[in-house]
Symmetry: C2
Subunit: 214 residues, 2 copies
């Protein structure tokens, strides 16, 4: 794929490096040419110095033939403007804007631009680790259902099917020395960490059943 | 819980607000008292102005009775030092350090401090949205196994069990109008999004089988 990235800060440079390493054609734009130093010597993509809301700059970066664009500068307003140019003028189907200020997310929803807010992701992850009570939230689906990690702290002598049958949930993986895919007949052992899809409200009861203290 | 947060930037202030809203006792430390303006008027926690590596400052923030501490300043070195003070001197069991520079993560692993890198989380999320080929990676376990979302683009007339039997994987949830927990007998329908735990290398084959174009 041909991917344009606008903004070569910590996130933009890491994204550009990863995508180039995976074999994609990457063009990265930043108004400060020193920013490209973060890319490392192995980066084989296009580096364009200029402001991302300048269409000449975007055309130099190849926006007319781009399959995807990520606007990840430190300025939320620039990100959303670049994303709109890419989406509305150049009809790029895969466009994403980074958000710094989580409170603006709902405003951006009105522009129909997909957004990612690393700050919110970090807050949720840290919160889950700090508050963990044997239950670690991995991610939230909807309808109250989440994917959780729950540790087995005692011998329960049950298969995956037994646990699924007793609680309304699905065990999909188990972290042991190395992670395995769960099957109905897999026997659950002490010190396993179960990857469970279930109603979050019922997770504490399961955690206690598996020997976690409340 | 009594939680000390060191660093009141975008992430620290959002974390403090969230935890206080959930009913936890929060003390937040920043060397710049203007940083506390980000907390909003509803914040009822303790605000301590000072440098996080100063033990007097940490004691003013109540570190001696803290259940958990998050070190989330903009300086990776300060974060790891604060985390070590909390862990080694004050024996706090739940300690987490934020990392800015993903390349340092492995160095920090040696300190046995749990770390979170929002930049890396953002990079992975953006990459997955840009590159999506019917497969959206939700998170990576290990051993090549990940939790993925894969869309069903045609009628396959199969149950969850049939798909699990044909490919080596576990379906744990299905996104429809509203998300459901998968069971062996659940019938898979066109336009479902399957939440699948499987070897990532085999995901494209499954996506194609389910009608996604390569």
């Amino acid at each position: 794929m041909y991917i344009v990235i606008v903004g070569c800060g910590g996130l933009g440079s890491a994204l550009a490096t990863k995508l180039a390493d995976e074999g994609h054609n990457v063009a990265i734009v930043d108004r400060d040419k020193n920013a490209f130093k973060k890319l490392g010597t192995g980066f084989n993509g296009l580096e364009i110095t200029g402001v991302g809301i300048d269409e000449d700059v975007l055309r130099n970066a190849g926006i007319e033939r781009a399959d995807a664009l990520a606007a990840v500068t430190r300025d939320d307003n620039i990100n959303i403007m670049v994303a709109q140019i890419a989406s509305k003028i150049y009809n790029i189907k895969r466009v994403i804007a980074r958000i710094y200020d989580p409170e603006r997310k709902s405003a951006y929803r009105d522009f129909e631009i997909e957004t990612v807010c690393p700050t919110t992701m970090g807050v949720n992850e840290i919160r889950n680790i700090l508050i963990a009570n044997g239950v670690k939230k991995r991610f939230e689906l909807d309808n109250g259902i989440s994917i959780l990690e729950i540790k087995v702290k005692k011998n329960v002598n049950m298969t995956v099917y037994d646990i699924e049958d007793k609680f309304d949930l699905r065990v999909s993986g188990i972290k042991r020395e190395s992670t395995i895919i769960a099957h109905d007949s897999t026997i659950v052992k002490k010190d396993d960490i179960l990857i469970v899809t279930m109603k979050e409200a019922k997770a504490e009861a399961l955690a206690r059943y598996l020997g976690n203290e409340g």
